[in-house]
Amino acid sequence: MSGEVLAFYLLAALAAGSALGCVIATNIVRMAMCLLGTLGAVALLYFLLSANFLAVIQLVVYAGGTLILIVFGIMVTSRTYGEKLKPRTSEALIGTIVVLALFAGLVAILLRAPWTPVAPTEPSNSVAQIGQELLGTYLVPFELASVLLLAVMIGAAYLAQPAKKE
């Protein structure tokens, strides 16, 4: 078993385990920590897939930004005592059945799909390539994304400002 295979299965186990932790955990902060596990494992999987740039972006934006925002949101919104928000049993039951069925179906399809094996090619310099693509082919979505971020910044600031005193 080569190093890459071993690494994949370790990381896959970590990602899947953390995702499962998210499902099981009732404490919201623990859920966030499980999410950190998944995000980190997925980032490392990106390294395995030779998407280095994506991996570090995942770490910067997701783990270093979004997740902190989420934890911060948790801290701000869960100061009331004793609010344990457990899923309702009926909902959880139905959810489990549906999701398990979905997973089984997906796996069945995936395993049967006739992927023609393509030898993975080593990207030459993915950062430069991504830069070229972003400012070339994908210029419009790129600019749209910037506009979106601006809108989000203004919107979030507007939403989160303290209510005006009457």
Partner: protein, 103 residues
Amino acid sequence: MLTVGLTQYLVLAAFLFCCGLFVMTTKRNAVGILIGVELVLNAACLNLVAFSRYRVGTIDGQIATLFIIVLAAAEAAVAIAIFVNYYRTLATIDVDKGDELRG
């Protein structure tokens, strides 16, 4: 014999997706639902990157993933802002309580 190929990545992504779906549908804490969304998005990203590596040979998948990450960050910022407002109004973060508009 354990090998790594596209299928393995896709199965993992499917698993993450299902977990995210479950979290989204059953959790009552609004932030928990957001965490579910992030899981689902991650599953999608993993799919895209794996495809881009094993099938297409170009980096379009990576670009798409980049956009997804950006969108996820934006979405989380707005969502947290909404949740803070929600919490201020209702003094709880339970999404089931937010049914004031129900007729």
